[in-house]
Symmetry: C2
């Protein structure tokens, strides 16, 4: 990831994560983040509209996911296209070690956890038209996306914690678990 390692946006993201970890999200100012990244406060706002957004990289992930679903092999079913897009996006997006630390910081800060929910909902909205174009009936699109996001959420902490796995693998496992989670167990003698 040479570009992200050296560019101003990447420096701001890493500086912010470091400061949020050491002194807390609330006690960190935008000026401090910019300073730690060797930039002026003003420059921060060229990349991010506010302090929370520095951990969410604007609409980069959303745009990437939509493009992936749009470009997916036409032979894939819509759900396969969606699972494939989400299963490969994270590692391209940021290094796993950064994502692991980021997940901890988000979980510990209600303001960041809220932003995370809002970004996920925006991603779900943005993916809907791409799935409709792949022939999913409109009433089912959001359901499919919600289910895939649940699968993603199930797989993510395991992937972050277990370096020898791929996210796509763990998402496939979670998808397989799904019917078993929902279906009532076969009747047995108790």
């Amino acid at each position: 990831m040479p570009r992200w390692e050296s560019d101003a946006q990447g420096r701001l993201e890493r500086a912010a994560l470091e400061l949020f970890e050491t002194q807390g999200f609330e006690r960190t100012s935008v000026a401090q983040i910019a300073g730690a990244a060797g930039l002026k406060e003003r420059s921060f706002y060229r990349y991010f509209p506010d302090k929370r957004e520095v951990l969410f990289a604007g609409n980069e992930l959303e745009a990437h996911l939509v493009a992936q679903v749009e470009a997916a092999d036409p032979g894939l079913t819509p759900i396969e296209a969606l699972l494939a897009a989400l299963g490969t996006a994270e590692e391209i997006f940021r290094p796993r070690e950064f994502l692991l630390r980021r997940a901890r910081v988000i979980a510990a800060n209600p303001a960041l956890a809220e932003r995370d929910l809002i970004k996920l909902a925006a991603i779900a909205d943005a993916l809907a038209p791409a799935l409709e174009r792949r022939g999913v009936e409109p009433g089912k699109v959001r359901f499919m996306i919600d289910v895939v996001l649940a699968i993603h959420r199930r797989a993510m902490p395991r992937w972050l914690a277990e370096p020898d796995t791929t996210l796509a693998q763990l998402m496939a496992q979670a998808a397989a678990e799904l019917c078993e989670v929902v279906a009532p167990p076969a009747p047995t003698i108790r």
Copy 2:
């Protein structure tokens, strides 16, 4: 629902919904809501911490759902207990006609849509311990809840639009749809 019809909280909720519909969420003040409900502005804050919360009834729904899962027949599987709790809560909570109008107002206002996401996440967090006490392994609890919330979200608009249905029925249908949504289709000659 005689209590809700006549009490101050119910009057505030109905007045707020009416004002949000006619003049918009942004242009409505807490003072106007209180005034329309025949109350002083101060009284509003006895029931709700802010203007958004008036459509979410504090922690009432959350508390109700947790109590339902806690009290569910021990013979039900955890997922059955969860589906049953969510499938019956809404109609007890507020009249369907109120919920239909409420859903439209929330969908039209980003500030309310955000609060809705946050309340849902809080409900998910609150339900987790109740499911763990029913024997669901901790790693799967959130997955199960996310999936049931996706099912709920799939069923809700149909239930609101179709007066002769029950939410529990439509949730059962959506749950049945689930495996089909996720499973790749059986191979066929294309």
